[in-house]
């Protein structure tokens, strides 16, 4: 099992969600986060004084999948969240030892 984590631009969330739905992925977790990648933040101007805002608003999407679907999920997210502009975000995959569905007690891929 894998955990796919994506950090994307907030306004791309709907597109990613719809693409995952269309690909048959049902479960996901979304949280509001802030941060920056290589481009750093942006500059804002208040009464002539320039402020650098280092931490930009982003959305983190987490999807638990089976080993075989993980690549599809990554591809789906990348395709949906890509604008080609700086700050599109990142996706990464990590292995998961155990998953338990709390309601039924099912474990492993049955619990996904």
């Amino acid at each position: 099992m894998k955990l796919v984590t994506a950090v994307v631009k907030p306004h791309m969330l709907d597109a990613v969600k719809e693409a995952l739905d269309a690909a048959g992925i049902r479960g996901l977790t979304v949280s509001e986060v802030s941060g920056h990648g290589r481009q750093k933040g942006h500059t804002e101007v208040y009464r002539g004084a320039e402020y650098t805002v280092d931490f930009l608003p982003k959305v983190r999407i987490e999807v638990l999948t089976g080993d075989h679907e993980a690549d599809d999920v990554v591809r789906t997210i990348v395709a949906a969240a890509q604008t080609g502009k700086i700050g599109d975000g990142k996706v990464w995959v990590i292995p998961v030892d155990t998953v338990v569905r709390i309601r039924t007690g099912e474990t492993g891929e049955e619990a996904l």
């Binding site: 500059t43 804002e44 101007v45 208040y46 009464r47 002539g48 320039e50 402020y51 650098t52």
Partner: protein, 422 residues
Amino acid sequence: MAAVSAADTAWVLVCAALVLFMAPGLALFYGGMVRSKHVLAIMAQVFGAAAVVSLLWALVGHSLAFGPDHGRLLGDLHLAGLGHAGDAIPGFPHLAAAPQAFTVFQMMFAVITAALLAGAGADRMHFGSFLLFVGAWVLLVYAPLAHWVFSPNGWLAHLGVLDFAGGTVVETNSGASALALCLVLGARRGWPREQMAPHSLPLTLVGAGILWFGWIGFNAGSALAVGGLAAQAALSTHLAGCAGLLGWLLVEKLQTRHSTTLGAASGAVAGLVAITPAAGYVNALGAIVIGFLGGVVSVFAVEQKVHRGYDDSLDVVGVHGVAGVVGTLLVGVFATRTVNAGVPHTGLLDGGGMHLLGLQALAVVVTVAWAFPLTYAIAALVQRTARLRVPHDAELEGLDTYIHAESAYDIGSRRVAGRMGA
């Protein structure tokens, strides 16, 4: 005493209400510019100042400013407590509005001028000590200056200084006093290294709009009568606000490649400040030039605080003080008898030579020389005795919870501190 005119009384009362509305406007204007943990504190200071100053004005201030004159320097306590509020106002034999209307109108001037000072010390003042400070300030600094300029019996007015609605008494005075106050207080913790960007520019823009609306009453009401002069002042006021807005944005665009909403709000206020002393003395074109220059000059004035290292939190010195000086001086250039037949000396462009310009410069110098040291002394005294400045950890926690045990919003600002550049 002239017979009381219902129309003039109604006009001055309406204008008094418009000027009072500037207080919540200022609270929003300032409130949006501070960080979210301090928004209630600055609003409380503006509302608190309104209450304290109004009561002190009724008890003593009005009488000191507009009571029977002594040596062209000060009124006396003859009108203290407003027990004779219906008596004629000394120096205003032709006032046709009810004297009480004049009193309440002038009371609102004192309120808004004192409330302006909250902006210079934002984010680091004790509420109660600030009220103590503005109470002393309005009686010791503002009331005598109001007598010198606004009462025809005062020595500056008698010399021929022109100040239609408060370029000296309100704007230059508040700017010079704001500088003294923030020097006594010292800079906010972390300034200018840490980011202290406004937490809600929509609030600031709504506040600026309310100020603009109220400013019509401020300036047009200063005609103290219904008629062409009031209408001319309203026209000049609005045009100057528009020109100031565009002037600020133009400089900002050239300097930073962006025209900002905070710049628009600030420029409008700077234009309105600049026209305040001139509203009843200049024509529409003069008003546009004065407003525009007010906006342009204020941008550069605001930058000075970082260069010179004084933390005037919300730019009272740059926007009110400097634009007030610009407007006061430009009266000496643009004042014309075609707009106001009553002016004793006309400006440079109306053939008056340098005489009026010199008088206006004198008024600026006198105002600064009076307001700055006296305010510094009052603020320092309050700081020594009642602790004007809050402890450092209170600044970190936020004055809203530290002083008022309240918070403005359910969630804190999402803004995460970065660095202040440039």
